[in-house]
Symmetry: C2
Subunit: 396 residues, 2 copies
Amino acid sequence: MTTWQRARGAATTSQLLDVVRSGGPISRVEISQRMNLTPAAVSFIVRGLLEQGLMEEVGRVASNGGKPRTLLAITPGARYGVGVHLGSEETIYIVSNMAGGVIGRLCCARRPDLSPSDTVDTIARDIDVLLNALGMKREGMVGVGIVAPGPIDYPAGRIFGNPSLGDWSSFPLRDELSLRMNLPVVVDKDATAAAIGEFWGGRVDAPLSFACVYMGQGIGSGIVVDGSAFRGSTSNAGEIGHVSLDVHGELCRCGNRGCLELFAMPATVVRRARERGMDFSGVRPASEARLFDEISRRAINQDALALELVRESAEYIAEGVLTLVNLLDLDQIVLGGPGFAVAGAIYVQAIRATLEHRFFARRAHAVEVQFSKHPRDAAALGASALVLQHELAPRP
Amino acid sequence: MTTWQRARGAATTSQLLDVVRSGGPISRVEISQRMNLTPAAVSFIVRGLLEQGLMEEVGRVASNGGKPRTLLAITPGARYGVGVHLGSEETIYIVSNMAGGVIGRLCCARRPDLSPSDTVDTIARDIDVLLNALGMKREGMVGVGIVAPGPIDYPAGRIFGNPSLGDWSSFPLRDELSLRMNLPVVVDKDATAAAIGEFWGGRVDAPLSFACVYMGQGIGSGIVVDGSAFRGSTSNAGEIGHVSLDVHGELCRCGNRGCLELFAMPATVVRRARERGMDFSGVRPASEARLFDEISRRAINQDALALELVRESAEYIAEGVLTLVNLLDLDQIVLGGPGFAVAGAIYVQAIRATLEHRFFARRAHAVEVQFSKHPRDAAALGASALVLQHELAPRP
């Protein structure tokens, strides 16, 4: 019967590692309860992980009348991964350990004049710079996770690019980076990585279904269901920025009309501020990201026009989140990405109010809305987590 | 290593049964390839299912040089389930077998004057009437699946009801029906059941992610990912009818504005037809469902006004489907429910055109749009499938 149940259990090594990372130190008995696995199956998987040095026994606690229970925890320094977030204005590099701890970080302005191939050369050099500074070596890394805005071609390990990244559709990103680094590489969507980063960083508890709504230059979302990324058919799920809020509205570059991005993204808020005469003299550099941060700062400081503009953006994002939650019936929303770094509180408030009064299944349960623990780095951290997950527990 | 992989495998008995049902007759080797399971794990699970009489060996095929492979198939008559679809105008009952075959069907007008308790008495009597007519007994049934429009309270086995069903929120539906029938009962959402019904009925291949968009009085959708219902936190996922197509639009009963239902549901099409002077004399009974069928029939027969009205409804539904696909990155859309029974072709066409030109990840993959095999009965058939799945392969 135990083998039967083991064969049937939906547990993967990667899920068990996640439970120990987010819930440890934890006993085998607790793991078996949380994962609906038999004690025999848990012991078996744990034995393998102990042998690989991925987790360790860290102490004992008394249990009711029985023999003391041994507690297990992740061995943080057992393995390391590199995460790369390819954004439109900058590239962020993170080296993280098994426990989601950030060992090192590097942020470089992206050179938009470079071809995909030259960009990948630069990325490989930047990773070496970061590793050298940390006194680490390529060979000590499990691999590299690289993430970018969607759409992506997940099976092929490619990204398509967008107007600010350029056209990457014919460039074999995964294979080229892997060749230059001599390491395994996984390619994924930035918002999916941000969601995994929140989970991996311990912000979100294991059994929840949640989305990380990510605002950079555009607006996306990554979805995690029961601790695993929900990818859809080709890892392109979660495109909240292209949910139409007005089907007869303005045409978007994606081909759809009235997309959320058009109403709420930083560039739109900056344009509206300019149209309404907001003074940006002295704000340098006058990039969209910098100006949006400035408007966000003024909104937090109660500047009436800035507050109105940021609230408007927040209310449109709340509409998109409502649609996301009505379709996926999520427990929790986490806001991440540089767009929420300054005025996140205003966005949290708007989304909470909308879900409280208009979520279709609000009589069945409430939806929590939270703010990211590391809004600027979630995608890069998640990229590193993705390659650690991928290389430590590949599917059979 | 094999036990390790078995312990890790995401396979459940229920998934294996699904693979055999939708892909059988099939050999153990093929099952192991499709499910990414070791041959040892497949043999182990199959042995249990053969012992329970749920599947059988049906023949052998030669394999390349090796010994002939034994083919496995579901034993259709091994178990039976009862499905009940509680709709606003009628209640549909289906008795189905393990293979998704319909053994018997009963359709009764719903009496809106009855309380939830009296309605459940009626349901229990109707089920007995159907079983008697089939020469079957309650004891031969695995259980009863009952489904209704959302929102529902899945963990508690309750439905909330709506304006046409009345208020069911304080009525313990699962427990009361189980008491009257002396059988296990599962309660779920009609659109989720319809999606499972499509899958169970063999319309959709196993590894796909798809949604069944269901139009009855309202519009909902059920989502299946890798062969299992995607339920979200409380089985309320898929509320496409309450996706806003115009965030500044008309207020909906759900609290949101500009919901898809308001633009596209049968009642709206009937109202618009009346406003534009369409003649319904002689159409009996003059119920909304009947009048909508009539408009749909005229549209199919190229009546200009009817065609315009149905196309308008179809285009709005296409907008909602686009949002659903952008958020879930699905492979396939299946249209089910009585609302699509007559003019489904017009809806299929509109959705195909929209996805082809405006799906965000269209460069990554196409989305297939199909028409249900049993548009009126998918939810009741799925309800029966849900109780069969639930009782045959409960989670550990």
